[in-house]
């Protein structure tokens, strides 16, 4: 492996040939601010926030600049700070960023950086274009382009991860804006609502329909699980609010899905907290279900199984186990049938 050595802010660090300055910095826990960079998509170099000084001279975008042997990198100095603040000021001025009304409040990369660099309120001297606000056309996604900073992450999420290419830029200069296929509204496009663009959006320009009004970013708790749908086994971070309600699902980068999800993994979790859920054991009496206690239900099941086993033999009892349940539960079900009932009559829907 071609190892190289360089210094970042005076500290010697090691990297591999071909890595960018930003990648080596992140590997070494050095924080360089970024907006358009995301490890899952190709490098853009558009936002310029990751500027660093190389060899005491030129300013380079660290997300695109390859690191070389002996390179001396400075990630922050007065000029860099001023440049970053200026860039952020322009981004703020160009849109309409009112955090009070924004789904991304507390989870917005732009908001964080404006805070970090103490960016003043926009003066109003820059022209501001009203852009598309489309919160109804798609069942899953909302779009408020007045919060868009044209970083291009959604465009690349769709064309490089989902491989559909719904999003693109249209117009030039200060008229540049997003388009979904050739339409203004996402709902009219070929979008399949995988939601990867929303997951990668650094601001509140794109958001999920399910999030608004269900708790703010800092109130949410996160825990990982595995998607319940197909056999790919996507790892998902599920977010719940203070009341324990499920709010959103983000693809986890460590799973086989590498952060990606489909529409089912993204939005298919409501059933867990649906009011159709069974909450008490039920016993059928005279053709009607009646609620009962666990003790009564379990006693009934075990005594009926025992009776039937005694009268008609263990092979008269059958169990359908489940491909929707865990390994532990399936193991227990087959053990129950084999070692307690005494039959190999156990199967599940592998064939269906």
């Amino acid at each position: 492996m071609d190892q190289i050595q360089l210094t970042i802010d005076g500290v010697p660090v090691k990297g591999r040939k071909g890595q960018t300055i930003l990648e080596i910095a992140r590997d070494n826990k050095v924080d360089i601010p970024t907006l358009c960079y995301h490890p899952r998509i190709s490098k853009t170099g558009a936002c310029r926030l990751c500027l660093v000084r190389v060899n005491d001279a030129a300013l380079k975008t660290s997300c695109t600049e390859p690191a070389t042997e002996g390179m001396k990198v400075v990630t922050d100095d007065e000029e860099i700070t001023n440049l970053r603040r200026g860039l952020l000021e322009m981004l703020l001025a160009e849109g309409c960023h009112n955090c009070l009304y924004c789904e991304a409040n507390g989870d917005c990369k732009l908001q964080k950086l404006c805070h970090r660099y103490n960016v003043p309120e926009p003066s109003g001297e820059f022209p501001r274009h009203e852009r598309v606000v489309d919160t109804v056309s798609s069942k899953g996604l909302r779009r408020n382009e007045n919060r868009c900073i044209l970083c291009g992450r959604c465009v690349k999420a769709c064309s490089e991860i989902q491989m559909l290419g719904v999003w693109n830029f249209t117009g030039r200069g200060s008229n540049a804006n997003l388009t979904s296929d050739m339409y203004d509204r996402i709902g009219d496009s070929s979008c399949v609502m995988c939601g990867t663009c929303v997951q990668l959006c650094p601001t509140g320009a794109l958001s999920f329909q399910t999030v608004l009004g269900r708790g703010q970013a800092w109130e949410l708790k996160k825990e990982s699980s595995i998607c319940i749908y197909c056999g790919v086994g996507c790892k998902i971070d599920f977010y719940t609010n203070k009341e324990g309600l499920l709010v959103k699902a983000l693809g986890n980068e460590d799973g086989p899905n590498e952060g990606h999800l489909c529409v089912k993994g993204r939005f298919g979790f409501d059933f867990v907290q649906s009011d159709k859920r069974l909450t008490k054991p039920l016993v059928k009496k005279n053709g009607k279900f009646e609620e009962t206690s666990w003790d009564e239900a379990l006693d009934l099941v075990s005594s009926r199984f025992s009776d039937i086993r005694k009268k008609s033999g263990p092979d008269s009892i059958m169990a359908f186990s489940s491909a929707k349940c865990t390994n532990e539960e399936n193991y227990l079900m087959q053990k129950f049938m084999r070692a307690v009932i005494g039959t190999n009559n156990v199967d599940h829907c592998a064939r269906l």
Partner: protein, 531 residues
């Protein structure tokens, strides 16, 4: 899968057969699309419908449902005839080649094109040359290969082709079934099957019986007689041999073929217990319904299509008095004389490790930090990225000479259209989960039948018209979706919708070996409903 999802970038070509990958395994679908679209990898798609993947294919073979074996034999025929196959690999690592060669000899492109309903036989030659010319080539398949009376032979034909082309036991190659449920792999691994203990150890083997008897300490000898499969047990119920049924997290009324037959069986049973999260169509026929836990309320492990074992964490609390499913099973077992002392899922997993050699090296602690695919025989073992490296698990790879056999029910003047069934992107299986999730339900809220434009005009049907689709087993009414997707004379119905249940129509013909039902092909008729 013999191979791994992360090997997709290593493959030089892909053969997708009987898998609507972008709708049913979308994340893998996107990964394959990326290789084909941006890196110029080769793609051959074989399917009765012009699915999205067909758009990106170098060759798309639109075959009649139920003719997979013929087309796979046809590809092998060309590879052998033009000497494009991996001769050294076949000679050193496989057996059965001579008989295989003899059988595929008659599967000329013209012969196959006739069986499969392909207009241009030269497409088969072109596809074979592409697949044989790129190494490694990965074969992906799904229920469009397996859900036939000849399903097992379909899978063997996939393996034949990959052995012939030398693509098994190499990174980026393989025979890769895409599992349709998040833990169908694990449920099989754990022995939730009628003839095997965990890790596929046969129940009919004395050594295995003794091993599990020692581990489980039952009050009696473990049975060595293979049990019933789902469909067999329903037949058994109707015949009066099966008296009681414990249904755990399944919905056979919706998911099994020939719905009337399933309901008849459930009504005949003396005692039915359903353990589920909602009052499913099946639960209506239960004597006792036990409220179990949904996936986000559980801790435990699941195993994905690439044999990767992953941990689930508890995200939300149980509603009301619902309980962990392992707790419920344990309670019933202990009331029937067992003395199980599990306190959590991890306790059970520790026992699984002791009797399941392929899982022996996997621990919860390792799963928090590591990517592990079974077989993983000990705690120092890194797991297995792809199977059959250097030699096949059985020694030599067995090539099986297989003849094409037609489906159980062919079209006739009364039922002139082939009906095939499957899933769509927004919904899943019997709909109990996806139809109770708002975004998914609002996006697609009702069932439909996909009809080819030609067929639609023959029946004087326009997009959105109500039609009746009938087979010898039943009839449903749904809206027509007129598209260019299905092959002419093929209709497709997704099986998610209880109000237009596809499985009122499907046939319960079974594969003789593995008992999979022939969901993918039966004969139907289409009639416009005049309102």
């Amino acid at each position: 899968m013999t191979n791994s999802i992360r090997e997709i970038p290593v493959s030089e070509a892909f053969l997708i057969i009987g898998s609507n990958t972008t709708e049913n395994h979308p994340v893998i679908g996107s990964m394959i699309k990326k290789e084909v679209i941006t890196r110029g990898k080769k793609l051959v798609v074989i399917d009765p419908r012009r699915i999205e993947m067909a758009k990106y294919a170098d060759v798309f073979l639109q075959i009649k449902p139920g003719t997979n074996i013929a087309i796979l034999n046809g590809l092998a025929h060309v590879a052998i005839k033009e000497n494009l196959y991996a001769g050294d690999y076949v000679a050193s690592r496989c057996e059965g080649f001579d008989e295989f060669k003899k059988v595929v000899e008659k599967y000329t492109p013209e012969f196959v094109a006739d069986i499969c309903g392909i207009d241009d036989p030269s497409l088969i030659v072109k596809a074979a040359r592409i697949l044989a010319g790129a190494k490694p080539m990965a074969l992906y398949y799904c229920m469009g290969v397996t859900q036939f009376k000849s399903g097992v032979n379909g899978v063997k034909s996939c393996a034949n082709l990959q052995m012939l082309l030398g693509n098994i036991g190499v990174a980026g190659g393989g025979v890769n079934p895409l599992r349709g449920q998040n833990n169908v792999q694990g449920a099989c691994d754990m022995g939730a099957l009628n003839a095997v203990y965990p890790a596929y150890q046969p129940v009919g083997n004395e050594e295995m019986r003794d091993k599990f008897k020692a581990a489980w300490k039952p009050a009696f000898d473990l049975s060595m007689k293979p049990g019933l499969t789902i469909v067999e047990s329903l037949n058994g119920a109707i015949a009066g041999d099966v008296k009681a049924l414990y249904v755990f997290g399944e919905n056979p009324v919706m998911s099994d073929p020939n719905q009337h037959h399933v309901i008849e069986a459930l009504e005949k049973l003396d005692f039915v217990v359903v353990q589920d999260i909602v009052m499913s169509e099946t639960a209506q026929y239960a004597d006792v319904v036990l409220p179990g836990a949904a996936f986000l309320e559980k801790e435990g492990t699941v195993s994905n299509t690439e044999r990767r074992v992953q941990l689930m964490h508890r995200v939300v609390d149980f509603p009301g008095e619902a309980k962990d499913d392992w707790w419920i099973i344990t309670q019933i077992a202990n009331r029937m004389g067992a003395s199980w002392e599990y306190t959590c899922a991890k306790d059970i997993f520790e026992e699984v490790r002791t009797v399941t050699p392929s899982y022996a090296g996997i621990t919860y602690d390792r799963l928090e930090k590591e990517l592990i695919q079974w077989p993983c025989p000990n705690e120092q073992h890194p797991g297995t990225q792809f199977l059959h490296k250097d030699k096949f698990s059985r020694g030599l790879g067995l090539m099986t000479a297989i003849e094409y056999t037609p489906p159980a029910e062919e079209v006739d003047p009364e039922y002139p259209v082939i009906l095939t069934t499957g899933r769509i992107l927004e919904h899943f299986h019997t709909g109990t989960m996806s139809r109770n999730s708002r975004v998914l339900h609002e996006t697609v809220s009702e069932g439909f039948v996909e009809l080819n434009q030609n067929d639609a005009s023959n029946y004087n049907v326009e997009d959105g018209d109500l039609v009746a689709v009938s087979t010898r087993r039943g009839s449903v009414r749904l809206k027509a979706k007129v598209t260019a997707r299905p092959k002419p004379n093929v209709a497709f119905i997704p099986f998610h919708f209880v109000e237009a249940a596809a499985n009122k129509l499907t046939i319960d013909a079974l594969d003789p070996t593995c008992k999979i039902p022939e969901f993918k092909v039966c004969a139907c008729k289409i009639e416009k409903v005049h309102m």
